[in-house]
């Protein structure tokens, strides 16, 4: 599964989110490829991934992308990340 983590600048919060998503995926024995992007360029690249994760404040910037966009309130809460990933596991 390809997962895109999106934040405002692509170097801060999305990087922290990527670290936690990779950790959770490893715990779930899931094979994922996690990339990061800033909100501006994410609209162009989002459709190459299977799932987009971002914060509630930035979701509006991603309107119109064809893949699911899920928002996360607590980037440090592995359970919140896990609950979302579980929805997308076959």
């Amino acid at each position: 599964m390809n997962i895109l983590c999106v934040c405002g600048n692509g170097i801060g919060t999305s990087v922290l989110l990527k670290i936690n998503v990779e950790q959770v995926a490893a715990d779930m024995d899931l094979d994922v490829n996690v990339t990061t992007s800033d909100a501006g360029s994410a609209k162009g690249t989002a459709n190459q991934s299977d799932l987009v994760l971002t914060s509630p404040q930035l979701a509006a910037e991603l309107e119109g992308v064809d893949v699911p966009v899920e928002t996360i309130e607590n980037f440090m809460d592995q359970q919140e990340v896990k609950d979302i990933l579980e929805k997308y596991v076959d």
């Binding site: 934040c7 405002g8 600048n9 692509g10 170097i11 801060g12 919060t13 990087v15 922290l16 989110l17 670290i19 936690n20 950790q23 990061t36 800033d38 909100a39 914060s55 509630p56 404040q57 930035l58 309130e73 607590n74 980037f75 440090m76 809460d77 592995q78």
Partner: protein, 149 residues
């Protein structure tokens, strides 16, 4: 890892138990820590504030935690972080995660250089016991030791 933490979070990056009147001042403190360590120029502080003004308080990524940062720019001299622990938490306008008691300032030249330090921070802050210890730690050295895991 010890050397990396020392490099990206030196003593001069820490402002512990400081007071801030509002979120702007809290971010200014984070900018001060980055400047003290020679990571950024003063302009970066304004860029971090502008990021929140433009995109909202999305930098408050967990309860009580703001990751103040902007994009790589001429104001970033070296990749590094600052660590501001507030004596009184301040609201940033993020309903789910306000108020903020810890502001981590981040200046990055790209998305990779700080990955190791960010991993250490993510690991510590997603662990409730380590998070409590970070609140109680008295010195920069003690905080780095906790981040070292």
């Amino acid at each position: 890892m010890t050397a990396t933490l020392q490099e990206f979070l030196p003593d001069s990056s820490f402002l512990l138990d400081q007071s801030a009147e509002d979120w702007r001042q809290a971010i200014r403190l984070a900018g001060e820590g980055l400047q003290n360590s020679g990571f950024t120029t003063a302009a970066y502080t304004d860029e971090m504030i502008a990021t929140v003004e433009k995109m909202g308080p999305y930098i408050v990524i967990a309860p009580g935690l703001a990751l103040a940062h902007s994009r790589p720019s001429a104001a970033v001299l070296h990749t590094g972080l600052s660590w501001v622990r507030l004596s009184t938490p301040v609201p940033f306008g993020n309903k789910a995660n306000d108020p903020v008691s810890l502001v981590i300032g981040l200046a990055g030249r790209d998305e990779n250089e700080h990955l190791q330090v960010m991993s250490a921070i993510a690991k510590a802050l997603s662990n409730p016991a380590a998070k409590d210890s970070l609140n109680d730690a008295q010195t920069p050295e003690a905080i780095r030791t906790i981040l070292n895991g």
